[in-house]
Symmetry: C2
Subunit: 240 residues, 2 copies
C-alpha cells in the first residue's frame, strides 16, 4: 500500500465567494416582497428600486428578471415589473399544491429514511421549539413590530429538513418556491397577529409520526397544518 499524503487544508477557502450587486438586490427584493414591505400590486419602478438598494439600474433589472421566473414579481414587456397581487384563490392554490408536493416529498423521505435524516429533524425541531415568538400584542403601542426572523429562519429549516431526504432536487426546489409564496401571505395577513395555535405540538406530531415510520399519519399531520393556516387566513379575510 502506498503512503497517502493528506491534502493540506487552507485556513481560508481558496475562493472567497463574492456576491455581485445583482445578487444582493435579488435577495433584498425577495425578502421585502415576501415580508410584504413592498405591497402587492405595487409597481416596481427601476429607478426607485435602484435608489432604495443603492445600486445601478442594470443589477436591479437582472434581479427582477430572476424573480419573475420564480413568480415573485410579475413582468410585462415594455410595461415594467410589479409585485404580484394577492387573492384568496391564489393562496388556496398555493396551499393545495404545497400539500401535494410536500406530502409526496415527506412520503419519499420516510421511505428513504436514514439516521442522519432523523437526527437532522430532531435537531431542527428542538431548535425551533427553543426559539421564542415575540407577539405583537405584547409590545408597547407605537413600537415597531417585533423581529421574529430567528424563528422564521428555523421554521423554514425545519420544514426543509422534513422533506430533505426525498431524493429529488426538483421536488425540493418546487417546495421551496411554494414555501416562499405561502410565507408572503402569512406575513401580509398576520403581520399584526402571530398564530396563537400550538404549532409546537403540531410540529412534534409530524416528527413523532415520521420517526415512527408512519407515513400516512405524518403526511396528514403536515397537510393538516397547512390546511389550518388556510382556514385561519380565510377567517381573517372574511372578518375584515
Amino acid at each position: 500500500m502506498t503512503t497517502r499524503t493528506i491534502a493540506p487544508r487552507r485556513a481560508t477557502p481558496r475562493r472567497v465567494e463574492k456576491e455581485t450587486a445583482a445578487t444582493t438586490v435579488y435577495h433584498a427584493l425577495k425578502r421585502d416582497i415576501v415580508h410584504g414591505v413592498l405591497e402587492p400590486g405595487h409597481k416596481l419602478l427601476i429607478d426607485q428600486i435602484a435608489e432604495r438598494y443603492s445600486a445601478g439600474t442594470n443589477p436591479v433589472r437582472e434581479a427582477l428578471n430572476r424573480l419573475s421566473s420564480e413568480r415573485l414579481v410579475d413582468r410585462e414587456d415594455l410595461r415594467g415589473f410589479f409585485v404580484p397581487p394577492i387573492s384568496l384563490d391564489d393562496f388556496r392554490d398555493i396551499v393545495r399544491t404545497r400539500c401535494w408536493v410536500e406530502g409526496k416529498a415527506l412520503e419519499e423521505s420516510i421511505r428513504n429514511r436514514t439516521e442522519a435524516w432523523e437526527d437532522a429533524i430532531i435537531l431542527a425541531n428542538h431548535r425551533l421549539q427553543n426559539t421564542p415568538i415575540h407577539y405583537y400584542e405584547h409590545t408597547e403601542p407605537g413600537m415597531p413590530p417585533p423581529d421574529n426572523s430567528p424563528w422564521e429562519e428555523r421554521h423554514r429549516t425545519f420544514h426543509r429538513a422534513l422533506i430533505a431526504n426525498c431524493g429529488s432536487r426538483h421536488l425540493l426546489r418546487f417546495a421551496d418556491e411554494l414555501m416562499l409564496l405561502g410565507e408572503r401571505y402569512r406575513f401580509i395577513s398576520m403581520a399584526n397577529s402571530y398564530p396563537r395555535r400550538r404549532s409546537v405540538d403540531e410540529h412534534q406530531a409530524i416528527v413523532d409520526a415520521a420517526l415512527a415510520g408512519d407515513t400516512k399519519r405524518a403526511v396528514e399531520a403536515l397537510q393538516g397544518q397547512y390546511q389550518l393556516t388556510l382556514k385561519i387566513y380565510e377567517e381573517t379575510m372574511s372578518g375584515e
Copy 2:
C-alpha cells in the same frame, strides 16, 4: 335603470403586444438549449451569445438571468453562465418528479372533468396523430436532420391539455418546467433515432382511460410512457 352604452370596439387592439429584445433572446436561447444546439456543460459567453442572436449584451444577460431561475442555465456570480450538464441521475430525477407532478395533475383533471376539457383532449390527440414524424433514417445521407417541430409542438400541446383541468396554476407551471428539462434529454440522446415505439397507441390509451373516468388506469398509462422513455434512454447510454 340607466341605459348602458356599449363600449365601442376598435378594429385593431389598443396594445400591439410587442416583444423586447430580451424576450426574443430568452425564447431563442431556451429553444437552442432544449434542442441541444448549445451543448451541455458549454460556457455561455455573453458577447458570443449577443452576436449569435444579433442583440446587445444587456438583453442577453436579462434572458440568461430569467433562464437561470428555471434551471435551464447554470449561473455563478462573477464566473458566468453555462449550459447545465446532463447526467443519468438528473434525468431519473426529472422523470420521477414528472410522474408525480403530472400524475397528480391528471388525477385532478379527471376529477374536475368538463366537456370542454374532454373536447380539448380529443382534438389535441387527433391533431397529434395526424402529424407525421420524419425519421432521420429515411433521409438521404448528408442531409440535415428532419424538422419535426410541428409534431413537437402538438406533442407538448397534447400533454398540456391532459392536465390543463387540474385547477392549479402552480402545478401546471412545474409540469411545464419539467417537460422542458425532460425534452432536452430526448433531443440530445435521440437526435438521430426517433422513437419507433407506437406512441400513438400509448397516447390513445391515456385518452381512453381519461375519458372513461378511470383515474388509476389513465395515470398509470401516462407514467408508464415516461418510464419507458427513461428505459430507452438508459439503454441508449449503456449501449455506447
